[in-house]
Assembly symmetry: C2
Homo-oligomer: 227 residues x 2
Amino acid sequence: MKIAIFGTGIVGQTIGKKLAELGNEVMIGTRDVSKTMARSEKDVYGNPPFSQWIKQNPKIKLGSYAEAAAHGELIFNATSGMASLAALQTAGKDKLKGKILIDISNPLDFSKGMPPTLTICNTDSLGEQIQRTFPELKVVKTLNTMNANLMVNPAKLANGDHHVFVSGNDATAKMKVTDLLKKWFGWKEVIDMGDITTARGTEMILPIWLRLWGVLQTPMFNFKIVK
Amino acid sequence: MKIAIFGTGIVGQTIGKKLAELGNEVMIGTRDVSKTMARSEKDVYGNPPFSQWIKQNPKIKLGSYAEAAAHGELIFNATSGMASLAALQTAGKDKLKGKILIDISNPLDFSKGMPPTLTICNTDSLGEQIQRTFPELKVVKTLNTMNANLMVNPAKLANGDHHVFVSGNDATAKMKVTDLLKKWFGWKEVIDMGDITTARGTEMILPIWLRLWGVLQTPMFNFKIVK
């Protein structure tokens, strides 16, 4: 499948690498291709710069948001939450039309120190904002509640016995994404939370997630809904 | 132990009944004793009125917030979140002094329809508000992330293989509450999240909890942190 991934960070890289390994044609979208390739410093987590990473993954293409959106039958939003709406705006509504957007982003604001706060929550969510701003997209919020390595390989932890959530207004799109989560990444149980307003709940799980990371001293954990 | 429970709703009743069964001297605190006893209608969940319940639990006393606070060596806050600060104010700072407050409340606002929103979140929490307003209390936030029946009997679900969190500034108080959660209710693993600011995370889990209740069609579920 032809897939676009918005965002050159660790989430975009991890998803892109996995999907390329599975034989998909991946194009990563960025705001400014030459700036992204010129960056030579490590990111805040100590990961090597994108230019180095993409050399090790030569099957993956890099393009502008508009080029990536035109390429992808399916789009992943793995930008930082505060940049997501602008990234989609840059891509252009005509190139997004009718496509499924798998929205992994979280509206985290790191500008006021750690732990970050949410720029939007409680009575709205980033997932809803994206859906409202781009009604031509079928937004499915998912994968935003765990570490990138677990997103693409849940079996790394407890043999995959933990959960991922999906929220979205389009039932067919949600079903398709659910199937892809199982087929591509090996998720065993995907919980359909309901319409896109339920993204409030999954985005608002981030504050406890971030604190648990500190308590457990590892990001390799996830929520299981025991019932 | 002499225990005060603020709040006559299902949470206060469930905790009170369990603690009395274990041989503790329980007094439930309410704003207006005669009004509470005069109420004859069922609550919004269809539970019988308090006056009927307390007849079936004759060992449990009912008093004003001030009387209950004076009685209890330990206080549970099981009032609805929007009423918690006023309830504690009514009890009086001198009667709260030096005591542990186990805060189970959530700042839920039902006035704008279902699902409720939070009256406070993200950059503050009800747990923090209570601690700030009553520095003479040792506030330990816990048990606010599951159904009342599971609070006092976690073994009802998956043999107790799921989690409860504690947040608070006083390490000794947190340790004592952790021990009591294990001894009284049978909790196996209690996760110490850190200081009272981590109550933001556990209170902000409510939106996903409330949606999961709808999805799973039962409130008898809980979060397990798989690591």
